[in-house]
Symmetry: D2
Subunit: 333 residues, 4 copies
Amino acid sequence: MRFFSDNAAAAHPAVLDAIAASNRLDTAYDGDEWSAKLDAAFSDLFETQVRALWVTTGTAANCLALAALCPPHGGIVCHRDAHIENDEAGAPGFYTNGAKLILVDGPGAKVAPDAVTGAIDRIRKDVHQVQARALSITNATEYGLAYTAADVAALGETAKRHALRVHMDGARFANAIVATGASPADVTWRAGVDALSFGFVKNGGLNAEALILFDTGLADEVLVRRKRAGHLLSKGRMLAAQILALLEGDLWLANARAANAAARSLAKAAGDRLVYPVEANEVFLRVSADEAAALRAQGFDFYDWGVGEMRLVTSWDQDAEAVDKLAAAIASL
Amino acid sequence: MRFFSDNAAAAHPAVLDAIAASNRLDTAYDGDEWSAKLDAAFSDLFETQVRALWVTTGTAANCLALAALCPPHGGIVCHRDAHIENDEAGAPGFYTNGAKLILVDGPGAKVAPDAVTGAIDRIRKDVHQVQARALSITNATEYGLAYTAADVAALGETAKRHALRVHMDGARFANAIVATGASPADVTWRAGVDALSFGFVKNGGLNAEALILFDTGLADEVLVRRKRAGHLLSKGRMLAAQILALLEGDLWLANARAANAAARSLAKAAGDRLVYPVEANEVFLRVSADEAAALRAQGFDFYDWGVGEMRLVTSWDQDAEAVDKLAAAIASL
Amino acid sequence: MRFFSDNAAAAHPAVLDAIAASNRLDTAYDGDEWSAKLDAAFSDLFETQVRALWVTTGTAANCLALAALCPPHGGIVCHRDAHIENDEAGAPGFYTNGAKLILVDGPGAKVAPDAVTGAIDRIRKDVHQVQARALSITNATEYGLAYTAADVAALGETAKRHALRVHMDGARFANAIVATGASPADVTWRAGVDALSFGFVKNGGLNAEALILFDTGLADEVLVRRKRAGHLLSKGRMLAAQILALLEGDLWLANARAANAAARSLAKAAGDRLVYPVEANEVFLRVSADEAAALRAQGFDFYDWGVGEMRLVTSWDQDAEAVDKLAAAIASL
Amino acid sequence: MRFFSDNAAAAHPAVLDAIAASNRLDTAYDGDEWSAKLDAAFSDLFETQVRALWVTTGTAANCLALAALCPPHGGIVCHRDAHIENDEAGAPGFYTNGAKLILVDGPGAKVAPDAVTGAIDRIRKDVHQVQARALSITNATEYGLAYTAADVAALGETAKRHALRVHMDGARFANAIVATGASPADVTWRAGVDALSFGFVKNGGLNAEALILFDTGLADEVLVRRKRAGHLLSKGRMLAAQILALLEGDLWLANARAANAAARSLAKAAGDRLVYPVEANEVFLRVSADEAAALRAQGFDFYDWGVGEMRLVTSWDQDAEAVDKLAAAIASL
């Protein structure tokens, strides 16, 4: 019974069906009829004109966005625990040609306006120090916290004051939307977000993510950068088809709801073992080594998170019975 | 009746089946059981120990290889018509951090040893000029010519004499192997090739290519670079499964045989209109604008190739009836 | 008697005096009183408001300009024989983070508008090919030809039509100005030039070149890039002082006049051996190997230029007697 | 009476004399007789065969070394207060093509072996996290502390254990040598240092620094990188001559002794106001805003260092009378 990742879960059957349905000759790259529908589909969802590009990984989506928002000699403010800082092998440095990540702290990997202002204030305004040009936040955060529309709007204001462009890493955007009930528009462009990495792979997709550009003026450059990074697949229609299948009938929301609900069940059982409030689909628990071993002995698979903590991640297809069993096992620790 | 690309053809049904069969939770990235089989599968095929990595595009495979073979301040000798020079949006410059492509000429986009030596000889051996560090050839070439094992061995000798590492862009490697009957080993590492981009997408794959490292010492670095470029997909098992399905029972060879045969049929009909000998699955013809229009009027779709030429590309699933019709139409021009 | 370089000539005594005069504590970097005068001095010279920065090499000046004028994914049109292509060790690739040099031909390393248009027309306007974003010309060219104001204006028009920014490598700008009698303004910004590498080192300076930004909006970025490239010297006053000394009383023009005059003397003696018209301070001659050897035997030092040609470069301090001797020796070959 | 920088001090008269003496035509770049002497001069000083290159700034020396010691996808462990992290505008990111600085803490900007080990231990050994490949320390540190030979040897051991190459930023190497009495060899290559930025500009030079490669195998690559970065000056003899003049008769040590002595005088007067022990030529004092204002009112010029601290830097030519006056003024605060 595996609780270690939404990343490696199966793709939703509707996604495989969509791939099969698009498996016939069409124009290569993104010249096909499926890819052509993405802008409209996401413009509907976000209630404004956007440009939407498929890519195959969150790292590619994040770094293409950052490269468009920050020059090589600029800095990107982000949380010390952000995926772009810790888990992308320095990809931001590669894509931006050497921009600097300027790290801030905050509980649950959440960035607060004061933290941004503090970071900016510590930079001397001369050519010897790297000046911040962008802000990147993760929603839901690496610890499963979701930003409300008001949270993001406050950051957007701060960013504007310091002339920072804003990127949102939405690897778990669906889970965040379900958690807060915010409208996709309110938590992004209306709050000052310029570009969003909209994750589908952790939420039922096979290998398609979407990069949403609210600043549509960035699109021409990003399209070139995508090709230049080797991310323009020749049969792109089968990526677009995945995304359209997940948007269809709000399947993306249904999937995220299932994952979040499973996490909530586990959280309820965990009580005051919780390290962070459980808002999306991640559960961090305080456990002793013996307790962790006891859970593993019962067939549960998960990551240790440093000393004395464990991480559970639920996915769209989390087996309900397994969740119940784990909840019971946690409760009886 | 479309003859403009193998790139945008459908994926083979066995490939979709393999994706479906691997669509269950396993370890993320390349920690799964399918990915784990690639090294062995390709080591068998190449009769030596290799390291094999999946990526999603030929551009990524090419440029990851080039970045491992050439430092930022080095040069890569390649043909003026090479894909890396003309059709990858400068991706080699991005991946290598600014290495220089040193262009040579040669009929049919084929590189000859003398051309390489000539290019090297023109470079002053000082710090003011970029020194060549690698050679990249395309097999089959952009104009559908295949290198024999002897061709490559002669280049390998030349490369060795000038201390150049050797990369082969094998976007149509299958077609080349079928064309020459060379063993995969003879035309690559036995002839001095260090790294091969082994294409599957043009030959029945959906979105999986293989990067084969004959110099296995490069693997650790390339694995990091792949992640850093955003090309480490979380559900990599569904890429590995595609490749394994195409290797299974030599399906890759069967697919290439079908494409090459279709091209040969067209070539036979074309007679002395042929611009280049037809060895793989591309056919370049001399046609007037009126002739091209006439073919289009009969429902045939293809690319013009500059003034007075047209390009036909056949694929693994080329409709036999359409091939016959086009052959007849060409013959009766 | 050395005729192989203006690059390695001595610095003018006035330059050493200026260094000595500025050798006292002042604000570091470019915060000193000498550096502060550069903008005004060059704005006077160019009859418009410019920003002027000292750097220590022409390569740095060229590449800082190119990086500001062309994005990493863009292309820079230049002559096949341009210094940035042949003699800067790939520095443009480093500074621009991988932009592509798009090479054109033309006699005497001079770029003509048609050549630019031809190069642009050969580029497919899609994301697969690198799109040109800048034009770089060298004045005087690598073969000693000078652009007239009309020449540059025609190129500027062409550049504008194709949305190319324009850079002029003026390593021998002084010699070009003397050759054509053009006003510095007419041959640069009035003709569409955005940035000029204004060379002093080949013309009596020790180690100071000026980068002139006619598009003053580029200055903030270029100032940061200069620091980031390690080109912000702490005692910058001693670079600014060199430049001011050479501008003072038009010493830069006097120096260039002397060098050009020496070249003209040699050209007169050379008659129809001349490969190119001699406009600035370089003289290319057709000579046999025996003739070259005979000149060397008489104590003249110069570069062979491929087979059957030699290159003479004169400098501001060229010994008049040596020039006469060489002229006589050439005439009597 | 200025105490804010050694960076902007005058050059030593012997340095200007050396420039004047080398001001005659010789081979360009580093082909001249002065440049040719550097390897031998530094090999003598360091009691082993080294390669020594002139550059014009410490940033260039540091970053050329780092680029040779760390691949683009690697990390460089350094102190949070290191110059490469704080005061080089992201130049390490530019030169290394995006390597990551991995920051550690330690009093007085000094790096301890445990801090290095701690940083390495926090990195997961997988492709998702940037792996450390180099260590960079500053001697004397940004707060004026000097590493003993034993300090460096302990770090060298630690670095070796983790396969890190070692760079020393010796912008104030002379002051450190004088402070500890260590032999240049003991505190560098014998302790495991691979490359040293040997500063001269803060110690009487005009615009020449030396990059010392103890791993002489790096030289060929660094020579190319220097050119590629625009740091190969055409009249390099006038940089080499500066360095030789400062090495001559141990002028570099005499200069550093003078600066350190001035700092010691100030330190003595400062008593328990000192923030760090004064070992080299920097003095950090705790002062109230009123006290700082009082000193300024008496004509002393210096930097505030955050709130409640001030920084004094002494130079080789510090006026003795001014030092006495400032010492008295501090004592009587």
